[in-house]
């Protein structure tokens, strides 16, 4: 009500102004467009402005009503960049998936047990599972699908006796194809989990 008392006279005044200026022919009203072309957009420069990679404060009241898959929660007590990557060690054990599926195929058991064995050979080593998709599917759907593929392998490794907290997952969606081709053969190679063995950094 109070608003109306203020706004209504303003509207009346505006209408009056418009009808006066609107009637003058040949003398168009001028709209001044203020300022520079666009509001400032500050370039962040480089990665120096990025916050350091630190474990997040996880002491928050997390509400959950989910029935968890076999792998359990993903703790935040370490991140893969604290370790040394050894992509060659388990390169032969990459596993592949059917189209739009995060189910570990029959026949991949040998690769899962090879990865589990490598982890039990050195209890200081850890593992990063990189989930990937072919180029079909929408981008954010694929980013979720890649993560589900990585979580499926984690679940299989936990069942094989690996401590879940030694494993981290990352999804590259369709952003890291093994084969950048656009045919069925390339797609089959790209629907995969790569296993990256992680060694402790010297002196840590």
């Amino acid at each position: 009500m109070k608003m109306n008392r203020i706004i209504f006279p303003l509207v009346l005044a505006l209408v009056a102004t418009m009808s006066v200026t609107g009637c003058k022919k040949g003398q168009p009203k001028t709209t001044i467009i203020p300022g520079p072309r666009q509001a400032p957009i500050v370039d962040t420069g480089n990665q120096n402005t990025l916050p350091n990679s630190q474990p997040f404060n996880d002491n928050q009241n997390v509400q959950s009503n989910d029935k968890q898959p076999g792998g359990g929660p993903l703790p935040d007590n370490w991140t893969p960049d604290m370790m040394l990557r050894d992509p060659a060690a388990l390169a032969a054990n990459t596993i592949h998936f059917a189209f739009d599926s995060a189910v570990i195929k029959q026949g991949e058991e040998a690769n899962i047990s090879a990865v589990a064995s490598a982890l039990s050979a050195n209890m200081n080593d850890r593992l990063l599972i990189e989930g990937n998709c072919d180029e079909r599917g929408t981008e954010e759907y694929n980013r979720a699908l890649g993560e589900r593929r990585a979580l499926a392998a984690r679940e299989a490794l936990v069942k094989a006796g690996v401590d879940a907290n030694r494993i981290r997952t990352i999804s590259y969606g369709k952003d890291k194809p093994a084969d950048p081709g656009h045919d069925a053969a390339a797609w089959a190679k790209n629907r995969r989990d790569d296993f990256i063995l992680l060694h402790p950094k010297p002196g840590v």
């Binding site: 001028t30 467009i33 203020p34 962040t44 990679s53 929660p73 979720a144 993560e147 979580l151």
Partner: protein
């Protein structure tokens, strides 16, 4: 007067005709519903006196807001003026035979003056605020996949500028309503994390950097909450938190959740999921509660929902072999209408235009689509693949 009534009658008949036509190429719609997405006829306008960039801007802006350019004899409105110096323009109603407005523009660039004139035309004819001075954010990937940068541009793709320089994989920019600030996913720290980025002072901070996936940020209409996709518990679900990262809440528990967006009243989060082996769109109260599944009968594999700012519609991507942009009433009163080939729809502040990306060969380009006439225009592109456009939210 008689002329006006005749025109109204004719328009009414055209509407009736288009409703019938729509019924034919869609799934069967129960007769009690009017097809509110029935295509409307574009408003015919004729333009004279403008050249080059000014003419291009006027054509682009008006085409994607429901106007079509015709010869003066068949036009309903006449747009005239000059751009020899600053832009001056007049809009006349040919049927009512009167000048709607006559105005000059100065300052900034001629391009922006033309956008301002287009906005005045849209507002004078439709009563709705134009989109000429709005912005979009999107991502560009130079090689079509892998690393890229987040860009900000005018809504028509002009004046595109990168706002990141990390050379990292990036994804899914989302605007903070009424602010020059974005959330987006970046792998700059090695993991997909959600960043907040103030574009005015360049400050960035990590909103979500948990183990596993942190992606698909969507900002609530009041800017106070962020919905996103995390898998902290070991399953990929939708979570919310406050703008400072606090008050983290697990809001969905589906088996294949992705792509959250907010209803404009902030009460619902709409997202893509899977139930009984079928991909569905669902909505869940943002404060937590029972999931409701949306009726997307007639299309398959819906993802990437975006709720129109006026609350009436949900646009999304369906995958039926190829990707299609679809729109449905948010109240579920009607099944989706398939509009054009493309992905990642994002509503303009006027709730009638969408920006989206579609394939040209193996890369993506951005386009702007007028939902109610299906008229669209391609945007100029940054070299590489341009995708995941997000239109700024003004209200």
């Amino acid at each position: 007067m008689k002329k006006t009534i005749t025109t109204l009658l004719a328009l009414g008949l055209l509407c009736a005709a288009s409703i019938n036509t729509m019924g034919d190429d869609e799934v069967t719609i129960p007769t009690k519903y009017i097809n509110i997405l029935g295509q409307t006829k574009p408003i015919p306008v004729a333009m004279s006196g403008f050249t080059g960039e000014t003419a291009d801007v006027l054509k682009f802006d008006l085409t994607v807001q429901g106007f079509t350019f015709v010869s003066p004899d068949t036009a309903q409105y006449l747009i005239s003026g000059s751009d020899s110096g600053d832009v001056t323009g007049t809009l006349s109603d040919k049927i009512a035979q009167k000048v709607k407005f006559s105005r000059g523009y100065n300052g900034a660039t001629k391009r922006r003056q033309a956008h301002a004139f287009a906005d005045d035309i849209v507002e004078a004819i439709t009563g709705k605020k134009g989109i000429g001075e709005t912005k979009i954010a999107f991502k560009d990937q130079p090689t079509g996949y892998g690393p890229g940068e987040i860009y900000v541009a005018d809504f028509d793709g002009h004046n595109a500028r990168p706002v990141t320089t990390d050379g990292a994989i990036v994804a899914k920019p989302a605007w903070v309503p009424r602010q020059l600030a974005l959330y987006y996913t970046s792998y700059a720290r090695g993991n997909p994390d959600i960043f907040y980025h103030n574009l005015t002072d360049g400050q960035r901070r990590v909103l979500a950097g948990y183990s596993g996936l942190n992606t698909s940020a969507a900002v609530s209409p009041d800017g106070s909450k962020i919905a996103m996709v995390l898998d902290k518990t070991g399953s990929v679900n939708v979570w919310t938190c406050n703008a400072d990262g606090s008050n983290l809440r697990h809001v969905t528990s589906g088996i294949e959740d992705s792509s959250p967006c907010w209803s404009p009243n902030g009460r619902w989060i709409c997202y893509a999921t899977k139930v009984n082996s079928r991909r569905r769109l669902a909505k869940v109260p943002a404060a937590g509660g029972a999931v409701q599944y949306l009726n997307t009968a007639g299309v398959s594999n819906p993802t990437e929902p975006d709720w129109s700012p006026d609350g009436k519609y949900i646009a999304f991507t369906s995958q039926m072999g190829d990707f299609s942009i679809c729109v449905m009433p948010a109240d579920g009163s009607q099944t989706p209408t398939v509009l054009v080939s493309g992905q990642n729809p994002s509503w303009s502040p006027n709730s009638r235009t969408l920006v989206y990306n579609h394939a040209v060969g193996h890369r993506q380009i951005l386009s702007v689509l007028d939902v109610f006439t299906k008229q669209y225009k391609d945007c100029p592109h940054v070299p590489g693949s341009n995708s995941q456009p997000a239109w700024e939210r003004k209200d």
